[in-house]
């Protein structure tokens, strides 16, 4: 699997014995990301056997405790486990203040660098980009400034047909051009079509994360056409009033976002502790968007 998401915590503000606060591990072509870091995330990472020292970046959606109270503990453990590699942390500016204060009071000096990348309350756009993936952030609608994130793989290179290439008389310096879809010319001046020596690239995938938020039209354009959408669905219809008060979504609203954004599949989570199971959420979501599923802790979603 070159791109997958593993749900570590799918509960809401009030953790229960069966549901932990929000956290997800996102693996994409050897990049290791953590999305939110609620209390006990480090324990969930261990239980799920995710190698925490490999994490490259952590994204924090907002500063409600159930989305970041596990961060400083995780950072401390990385230090105790001998981490030297820096880690990037994307989130609101005040996050840095809290983390540094807690480390300072504990007399802890980390043996690796924390690189804080502040996401301003009103910012929307690319926050991370490398050769293979681009991560953008956008505003959600919650009680405090909150951001969603979308992970989009970049166009992949065409794959080389090795056996055919070997008999072509072309030099290995010409492989990058072929892979990028450019025709090349050999020593004799003969033109070779890239199509002869490469096959079309593997498909590229995309994933979006939206928690916590009321229904927001703005989200649609940012997550348009993603393969998998995680969207919170804290409530069902009968608690619609409570969802308005707390600026959360119902399962119906999550499914409406999925439908309007024409995503592939919807996984919903962040269910209020008042529900014993997700049956009603599932009914309501599937009535609008059939490819709706409950985000279950430990489950891996392959893109």
């Amino acid at each position: 699997m070159s791109f997958y998401v593993q749900f570590l915590g799918t509960g809401s503000a009030l953790p229960t014995a069966r549901q932990h606060p929000t956290s997800q591990y996102i693996f994409c072509q050897n990049r290791h990301f953590l999305m939110d870091c609620g209390e006990a995330t480090q324990i969930q990472l261990r239980i799920r056997k995710v190698k925490i020292q490999k994490l490259d970046a952590i994204f924090i959606s907002h500063l409600h405790g159930d989305h970041y109270f596990g961060l400083v503990g995780l950072l401390s453990s990385m230090h105790l486990l001998g981490r030297k590699k820096p880690i990037a942390i994307y989130g609101p500016e005040l996050l840095q203040k809290i983390v540094r204060l807690q480390l300072e009071i504990a007399g802890a000096r980390l043996a690796y660098d924390l690189i804080f990348q502040h996401i301003a309350d009103d910012f929307e756009g690319v926050v991370y980009e490398d050769n293979v993936i681009k991560v953008s952030t956008f505003k959600l609608k919650h009680k405090i400034p909150t951001h969603g994130f979308v992970f989009r793989e970049k166009e992949k290179e065409r794959s080389l047909l090795v056996e055919k290439f070997k008999t072509s008389g072309l030099s290995i310096q010409q492989i990058p051009d072929l892979k990028r879809g450019k025709d090349v010319v050999d020593e004799k001046g003969e033109r070779h079509s890239f199509k002869k020596y490469t096959r079309k690239p593997k498909p590229r995938f995309s994933y979006a994360f939206c928690s916590d938020t009321a229904y927001s039209k703005n989200t649609i354009k940012w997550i348009k056409g993603v393969d998998v959408l995680y969207h919170e669905a804290t409530f069902t219809k009968k608690d619609k009033e409570r969802s308005v008060q707390t600026k959360h979504s119902t399962a119906t609203e999550a499914a409406t976002v999925a439908k309007e954004a024409e995503v592939g599949r919807l996984y919903f989570g962040h269910l209020s502790a008042r529900y014993d199971n997700a049956n009603q959420h599932l009914l309501e979501a599937r009535a609008i968007f059939p490819e709706s599923f409950e985000a279950v802790e430990g489950d891996v979603v392959k893109l």
Copy 2:
């Protein structure tokens, strides 16, 4: 059981899939105390079915994260669960700053009062006292200011022998005196010995908590004769050097404290994640103090 301790987290700084950071629930004659509050304590409390809304006071030994990172999450959950009753928090002054900063940033206004009782770095003495119990604190020897705590039940009243009292001709207003061990005089002027109408009081018990600390002579006088001592034993003899560097104890040192303080039983915990089990700790401790046991998560120790 009128006095017991339940271990919620017995691990050290680095939590593992099987061991959580430090936390203990202490129940004494309907008082509900929490001792330290490492990450995920609220989840452990739920798993162990401790009623978190009943907690009267929380004691924090020091500001290393594995002893308090679960506090603000627990306080938030108490609010979400509808708590109105104030809670007292005993710990270093900076604890208040951290907790209030995190609540403020989250825009959270608790519907109950947090009553912070600062324990100055050099303070030793009584921090809590009511009709039935007295809690004292004393300095431990660690890398940052750290306190131990000792819970001592007060002298209990004698129990009334109801049937004998009924035939005595004494008035019920005289019961308190009898229970306190005072003889009384009836209407005819006849003297009655309290021994005739009461039996001797139930024994009173005591519990001491010492984590994290190097061996400290000072501890002995504060915990003298307690029925049960919890003392950290992060290391075994072969890692003695590491214990000196980190100002932690070996199992031998924990047992030495237990022996010198003439306690009833020793429970040791806070074992470094480097050990797969407590076998070696147990051997080393019992060689010095036979009544040594491993503190196991979930276990209840009756006093």
